[in-house]
Structures are given as structure tokens and as C-alpha cells.
Symmetry: C2
DNA sequence: AAATGCGTTTGATATAGGTCAAAAACCATG
DNA sequence: CATGGTTTTTGACCTATATCAAACGCATTT
């Protein structure tokens, strides 16, 4: 097992990371924060299309996205794939691997990205000493469960238009939280990937986007989205019985 | 805040619980187990239809089901409901509440049930001292995430027959793990609840079950299910492209 | 600049599952 | 044991989305 200080990759400081408000170190201060720094390290950059990990690989660490964009997907033997999430800077991935000491999904970079590696054994050890960190780790895992329930609701009971509206609003909100425009952004994923995530075929995603555009809710051109009428888009989600 | 010893409800011993293999105490031994006993207590029994907790209520404890059957559901403002799971003895619920210190779903007894209450503050405290318990708690949360990903795949990419086959096989496997027949069991939930869980209408659930019966895969009569051809049922899940 | 290839859009058609409706079976209650 | 309410089944019909197919746009390579 290698420790952070052995790690050939660049060491970084959570204490000076501009994602502090979003990532693990929330609420940690002073020496606690430095102890987290001590076990976190930046892995080599990932190019678009590269795998951060694959289903079945042994579990060693959680990963925090520093820059870039990832998707996670579950593959079924018969070739069926399900995108389980799209992750952006400040978000933590790899939690699913704790249960079996092996990754249960793939994580793929959707654009060139940098990630922080947080060895899980050491994180557990530290969180035994720092109740704040412990609680925060639990919250992150719990948040993932709540998020998944939301997607289950979406997949189980929403129509195509509602799913897409919910998806766009969710992206909007997350971009906004990172200081980017909530109304104008670039999609990093294909129609096919959006479809897989939302339980729709890519043609339906495309048609529904065109449909939104025809009704003046937004402008789409390839991966460029501009939301024109946020309120009406919002009223879409859940208003239709 | 009340501790387990103040609690008017019956105190019990995890150390002698016959769900040990399924519930939290897995791998805990000796004094560690007794310390967990000390914070766990049995709440009053719940009658069919009673709520263990409701969405929005403050979070205090996790709950382990001792006997009986629960469903958890998320309610959307517009009345839409999504059943997010069916829980049986030895399973832990309430994990979703950690993220916001409030429950984010309802838990409803589907039959008369008994549950153990595990105050979360105390569980965290204990898990700081017992790495085995800490790791196990993390595994339980992670397992929930993996389970949810499985449901996302089911909802996102399976046809009605596959969903239902997967559902029945999942129940079968869980009954089996508890020493009950894997092929013959009683459904505690309505067609409507199954449908909500699987993203189908109750009529579709009913029709699909009849369809399975017509093809000799199983016998259903109301809530009584007998699986006749486990292998063929299994081959259903995922075989159809 | 031509060629190749992936991603996207759009149209025509098919179908799985939803909706509506009615009857039957079951269950709880007085 | 009659009654009223819920759950389940089954049928007929409808619609949202999938499927199949073709054309187009954009990016990358030759």
C-alpha cells in the first residue's frame, strides 16, 4: 500500500482548493484540514474517454473531481448499459465500491479532467479521529442515496419531457453552484448518454429538445444549451399528471 | 435526547438476535457486540399501514427490521408516489435521512412488524471506536447505493416482463437468505405498489403475472406466488435485447 | 479539398404499455 | 352473513415512445 507522500503524483492542498465548499473538506478547519491534505493526492490527468476505474477493479480510494466531467455507468452482460450519473468538479465518486471492495461501475472522463485520490483506508482512519469528517462522509453517502431515489422517481413515473426538463434544471443548478451560468452551458455528453441516463432513446432526447426549442423554452445547437424560460421549464417537471 | 437505557421500550440483545448474520452486528464479537446492544432498543410494534417515519421528520436513528415487512416511498408534490424499496427482516432503513438530518421518504409497515431503533449519534460514536463496525456501516450504505443503481438499470432499460422477473427473483433470493422457501412466498404488497416500484401500472403487473402463469413459469393466486421454473425465469432477465 | 466517420436531426411506422371500464374475488365490519 | 370497500383480473382501445431509415453537420485525417 502506498501512502500519499510516496505517491509520485503531485501533492495538493485541500486547504487551498477552490472546491472546498463543494468537496469533502467542508467544515474542516486548521489542522484537521491539513491532515486531510496529507492523504489526498492528484492523479495524472485523464484524457477524454479514459477510464478512471472499471467495474470489477479492486477498491482502494474515493475520487474527487477537480476539473472536468465524468460519467458513471453500469454494464449488464447482454451489452445493455445504464449511465448512473454525470459528475462535475467537487463531486465524489467511487462510493459504490465500498460494499464489495470492488468497483461496481465504470467511471469515464467525458472531457480532459483532473481528479484527487483519497485512499479509503486512510480516510476511514482519519474520520475515526475527526467526528466532523466522519459525519460529512456519511452525509455524502446518504446524499448519493437520496439522489438515486430522485432518479428512480424520474425513471419510474415521469414522461420524456419531464425527465429532460428535470435533467437540464439539475445541470443548471449544479453549474450555478460552481459559479457558471445557470442558463447557458455546454453538454459534455452525447444524446445517447443522456438517453441512457434518462431511460430514453437518443432520438427521443433529440426530438424532445427540438420540441422545447420550438416552444421557446430554450435554444439548443448540438451540445450548446441556452435556457430561455427557466420558470416554464421548471413548471414542466411534475406539473403534468 | 433519550438513551437506550432510558427508553421505555424493551431492550434487546443484538448478541442473541437471530438476524445477526443479516443485520449490523456481522463480524462484531464479544464486548463490541454488547456495546451495540447497549444502544439498540425495540420500539413498540407497528401495525399494518402504520408509518415508522414520514418524509420531513427529524432524523434521529436508523432502524433495523426485526420482523415484518416495510415499504419506503418518495412522494412528489403533485401526488405522484414512487416506492423506492421493500424491506424485510435484517435490513436497515433510514440511511437517506443522514444527508439532511430529516427523513426524505416515508417508511410504512406492510404487515405487523417489529423494529430495532439505533440512535445514529451513538452509532457514529461507537463506530469511531470500533473500526469493524465503522467499515460495516459504510458497507451498508454503499450496498444501498449499488442496489439503487440496479433499480436504475431496471427502470431505465428493461421491459415489463424483465422487470417483474427481476423483482420476483430478488424477493426469492432474499426470502431464501432468511431460511424461507425461495420458490413459494407471500407478497406483502399490492399490484399497485409493485407497479410503482417497477415503473409500471398495476394492470401491467397483473397482466404480466398472468402471462408468466400461462407460460408455466409460476403460479400466482392473489398474493401467493409459487415459482415453477426458476431457471427460465432467470433467463428472462437480460436475455431479451 | 476530399474523404471518412461519428453525432444529430427528422420522418414514417410499429408496438409496449397506458388508460378506461367493468366484472369478479376477496376482506373487514357491523 | 350481508354489506361495502378494496384489490385483482381481463378486455378494448389509445398514445407515448421505440424502431427503422435517411440525410445532414461537424470534426478529423489524408
Amino acid at each position: 500500500m502506498q501512502t500519499a507522500s510516496d505517491n509520485p503524483c503531485l501533492r495538493i492542498a485541500c486547504s487551498s482548493c477552490n472546491l472546498r465548499e463543494l468537496c469533502l473538506p467542508v467544515d474542516l478547519q486548521g489542522s484537521a484540514l491539513h491532515r486531510l491534505d496529507a492523504l489526498t493526492s492528484i492523479k495524472r490527468p485523464f484524457r477524454r474517454g479514459e477510464y478512471l476505474y472499471r467495474s470489477g477493479e479492486p477498491f482502494r480510494a474515493l475520487y474527487a473531481i477537480r476539473t472536468g466531467f465524468f460519467k458513471t455507468q453500469v454494464l449488464h452482460e447482454n451489452g445493455r448499459e445504464q449511465v448512473t450519473g454525470f459528475q462535475m468538479p467537487g463531486e465524489i465518486i467511487g462510493l459504490d465500491a465500498i460494499s464489495s471492495d470492488a468497483h461496481s461501475c465504470d467511471a469515464v472522463a467525458l472531457e480532459d479532467s483532473e481528479i484527487c485520490e483519497i485512499p479509503f483506508d486512510q480516510l476511514e482512519e482519519l474520520s475515526r479521529e475527526l467526528p466532523t469528517l466522519q459525519r460529512y462522509l456519511h452525509k455524502i453517502m446518504s446524499r448519493e442515496i437520496v439522489r438515486d431515489h430522485g432518479i428512480m422517481m424520474l425513471l419510474g413515473s415521469m414522461r420524456a419531457e419531464e425527465r429532460l426538463a428535470a435533467f437540464l434544471l439539475n445541470l443548471s443548478q449544479r453549474f450555478s453552484a460552481r459559479g457558471y451560468s445557470p442558463s447557458s452551458f455546454h453538454l459534455r455528453m452525447t444524446r445517447q448518454e443522456i438517453g441512457s441516463y434518462l431511460g430514453l432513446k437518443l432520438e427521443t432526447v433529440s426530438r424532445t429538445l427540438s420540441h422545447f426549442q420550438d416552444h421557446g423554452l430554450l435554444n439548443v445547437r448540438l451540445r450548446e444549451v441556452e435556457i430561455m424560460d427557466m420558470l416554464r421549464l421548471r413548471s414542466f417537471v411534475g406539473t403534468t399528471a
